[in-house]
């Protein structure tokens, strides 16, 4: 048989092909997967609630940190004014008098 004829035979080998049928239990497996996917689903409302709570937590922490650092600088300036009024500040000059 010539190669051309063999090629033609191969090329036409799918003529009259019937559709293959899947396993009859496939539908059950599909529904199991669908139900598994649905049970993993988190409602959008809960996701937004979690995001809002997290944002609030960050805001509160930032506010607390800012408040803390402004108190520290306020207490620092109080300390300096008391120290200078009693001449307790170190001005790097040694008075041997």
């Amino acid at each position: 048989m010539s190669n051309e004829k063999r090629i033609d035979e191969v090329m036409s080998s799918l003529e009259g092909i019937r559709k293959a049928e899947p396993n009859p239990f496939l539908y059950t497996r599909i529904m199991n997967k669908v139900e598994a996917a649905q049970s993993e689903y988190t409602p959008a409302r809960i996701v937004w609630l979690a995001a809002a709570s997290f944002a609030l937590l960050v805001l509160l922490n930032l506010t607390a940190i800012r408040s803390l650092s402004s108190k520290e600088s306020a207490s620092n300036s109080d300390f300096k004014s008391v120290a200078s009024s009693y001449n307790l500040m170190n001005d790097n000059s040694i008075n041997y008098n």
Partner: protein, 183 residues
């Protein structure tokens, strides 16, 4: 078809299960893989059917999902093969790569079994678009217009793809018969 006229999911499954499975089988050429991917197709259909806008027919929409899931599976399998090859280079035991056994489509006429197995092996070597057009045409029996809708191409593009697919297949088969080489 308007979204509100959509059949129920069980009805959709019964109507399209053979078409989807047959299409996927044409790509994957393995019954287990095709069943797994067919499940994925219908899970996606179930997930997305409430968003179906009716811009295309239901059939076209489902075929499109089947084509995309099949191509995704092939890409994923090829990635795993490349990784397995690389890891075998460092494997002291040396992994032996075996060729896939011939695929025999259950719907092919008995006297054409061997020829069809060779054709399916050659289809595997086609570029993606040519492979899709050929499978939808010769395995699924879709007309040019429906293939064009599924692939979102013009009818003339589909005709061109099929022409090139046929030329490609004939060339590869010619080389095969000249050399009588194993794939």
């Amino acid at each position: 078809m308007q979204p509100e006229q959509l059949p129920s999911f069980p009805e959709i499954y019964e109507t399209y299960k053979n078409r989807v499975f047959n299409t996927v089988l044409g790509y994957l050429q393995n019954t287990e893989d095709a069943e797994e991917t067919t499940q994925d197709v219908f899970v996606e259909v179930h997930r997305s059917m409430h968003r179906f806008e009716g811009k295309s027919s239901l059939s076209t929409w489902i075929y499109r999902i089947a084509v995309n899931k099949s191509l995704d599976f092939i890409k994923s399998k090829n990635r795993k093969k490349r990784f397995a090859f690389l890891s075998s280079l460092f494997d002291e035991k040396g992994a032996v790569q075996h060729d896939r056994p011939d695929f025999h489509h259950p719907g092919v006429q008995l006297e054409q079994k061997e020829n069809a197995a060779l054709l399916f092996k050659t289809i595997n070597e086609l570029p993606e678009n040519q492979k899709t057009a050929f499978i939808l045409s010769k395995v699924e029996g879709l007309g040019y217009a429906e293939i064009a809708e599924v692939m979102q191409l013009s009818i003339s593009s589909v005709e061109s793809l099929l022409f090139r697919a046929k030329q490609n297949l004939q060339k590869k088969l010619s080389d095969y018969f000249k050399n009588e080489r194993k794939f």
